[in-house]
Amino acid sequence: MVRKTVFIDFSKCIECRACEVACEREHNGMSFISVFEWQEMAAMALNCRHCEKAPCVEVCPTNALYRDEDGAVLLAPQKCIGCLMCGIVCPFGIPELDLINKVMGKCDLCAHRRAEGKLPACVETCPTDALLYGEFNEIIRKRREKFTEKTIELAKTGENIQLTGV
């Protein structure tokens, strides 16, 4: 099954938090992606990984967490009882408790936008393309292609580059 998720390229994140604001707008005042600053320098965004073997789905006593046809892990608030189990077992600490309704909330990969064939809001807005939406192998393949292209480009222009034996 091809699972598309949001991948994060830490080397490009500039901690502008556009993804947070976009997520907040799309999800009625709750942001399910958060950006952290590390040692005053590096920034990293963190969101739900929609794991293949998701512990939150396995642990949920009421089956409130389920997968949709794209493989994204969603939460049905009608079934959720706010037992916080999913938040405890999640290695990233992603599901959060909505204090008003006492149910959990988490990233749904912008289900309403995917239904219209659009990308998730955080990916759509990221000014530096630090967030990538796609399937793991596809992204890796693109990376390799890019690198190879660059190498060939260099080999064409470079004077003393020997490609024999590589």
């Binding site: 502008c16 938090r17 604001v21 976009a22 005042g29 005053e40 320098m41 807005t125 530096t128």
Partner: protein
Amino acid sequence: MSERLVPVVCPYCGVGCRLYVRSVDGYPVGIEYANDIPNISNEFGKLCPKGNAVVEYLLAKDRLKKPLKATEQGKFVEISWSEAIKEIAERLKAYAKDDPNQLMFFGSARTFNEPNYLIQKLARMLGTNNVDHCARLCHAPTVSGLKAVFGAGAMTNTYKDIEEANVIFIIGHNYAETHPVGFRYVLKAKERGAKVIVADPRFTRTAWFADIYLQHYPGSDIALINGLIHVIIKEKLYDERFVRERCVGFDEVVSAVEKFTPEFVEKVTGVPAELIVEAARTFATAGKGVITWAMGLTQHTHGHDNVRLLGTLSAICGYQGKEGAGCAPMRGQNNVQGACDMAALPNVFPGYQAVTDPEKRKFFEEFWGVELSGEVGLTTIEAAYAADKGKVKAYYVMGENPVISEANANHVMHTLEKLEFLVVQDIVPTPTIEFADIVLPAAAMLENDGSITNTERRVQWSFQAAKPPGEARPDWWIISEIGKAIGFDKTGSRGFVYGDAADVLREINACTPQYRGITPERLKENLAGIHWPCPSEDHPGTRVLYKEKFLTPDGKAHLAAIPEYRGPVEMPDEEYPFLLTTHRYVGMYHTVTMTMRSDALKKRWPEPLAEIHPEDAEKLGIKSGDWIKIETRRGTYPSKAKVTRTVKKGVIAVPWHWGANVLTNDALDPVAKIPETKACACRIVKITEEDAKRLIEKLPSVIPKLDVVRG
């Protein structure tokens, strides 16, 4: 229920991003990314946090909805539009009859080209050239400096060229935080293999991506740039052919930079000599290079010279007039370039035509049908001092907030109190409104339509996405009504009778050479906009300036030779041992009138944090999160401290959004008339929270509660 997607231009910074506002029956409910429009300045519809929160401020609870009149300072009653306009027209007419130079008009870089054109037209038809706007506080040296070197004060290239450059020199500009969408192009260039050189007193988010990082002291830019030029000339890395054919004054430059050896520059700026040599070599040998700068470079008493030196650096390397190279001043406001083009400036007519030039004046006298003044008017800071002396008696402020944005804010407030008559036209209550006699509610940018010019000279049309609240009216409508009430009621270009914003733009087409071909019909069809200069209606617009020749009288670049080093006016001493500089946050915008009314942004950037180097903090016993009091010769400002290694030792950095300008120095650059807000001496004292609260009460509140009697 009719849901529409309306294409607008983001009302925040100068990148000029396109987006769609989703509006239901004229009520904005959300946004959609404009990833289907080709060639826009934010490719694929990327937006920064401010752009994402763009509809929130429109729905602020305290939007101005009716004209107000002050009964005493800070107390208002509601009045009707006709009363307000009648009173303003009468007062302006009376002052103009007495002496038109008693009036001062403020244009606005936050609104469209059309109102800016109209406000300067109103000022000039009343007989004064006292019209200025906030470009005076940010990019005045850019306009004057680039004009001196190349002949026009605008970005010489576009974002596409930044993407194609081989080296990008970013100085005094926290690109990643102030223009995240623009920074996208820097990163794309870097991925291609371009080198990035960053010079900044703070190790900013931008410096994190730099290949070479030069950490100099605030205000030591002249030495730094001269040092780079010195190395380039000494090692013969400059573009000899370009210098010979297209520049004048090179010999003076050679002798002027003689003494700026890397060792001398290291002493002055604190940047290691080998880094300067390396940066110079990297920059000069890349083949295509872009220099970008912003307020960190211009807000100095030598801002004009800084910009001329950067132009010189770019010219001697031959980085002009070709794609992938150029000088890119990054504008901070959505329409600051447009407001300058429309001549909301004291010394030029629309299209940078000097008021002192009798020929140009004759054309506009013909065009507007009145006699015009040939004297250069007052700039913002000069007007404040003239008002102090009683020479200027009335201000008309459109969409500006001088209390927070101008240097030495205490003096500005004192001035505003002294004024006899102050009209403020704005969308939300600002600290400036406290001093107003009449307040006019304006429609926000997304609530009316008009043309807007971004930092790369791209003129775009923004459509109306929402209904204005209450009785708020578009800016152009307000000024045209006032113009008609004063008595300029002829049709055509000799009066103020307009049907809509497009009418005003047609008049701009008729009198501004650069905008001649940029008609409203073309702009409405072409959402990606047109780059000026565009001399005729079939002209596609100009991406790169100066391909054939420069716009100076002799068509050559006039290189600047600045032999003597000048630092900040106020250097640290025994009494005030630290150097204060100001910066910005990515999610906050200028005087926070819009962003603090937006929950998503307010939550993430709630308050200013003064940045201190750990060694300095240790001496003073300050930890992160402590309240401190920053004092300069002009004022005091309480703030929470953040101990961080990002600033240089001996430097304090404060974000200025919440009114830190009570501290800054209003010493002026002699040419550009910009105050030195980026460097002054200060001292720090640790205080308790109660003291801080008391001090905060004394400061002007950034989001004031207006005392209004409902009429």
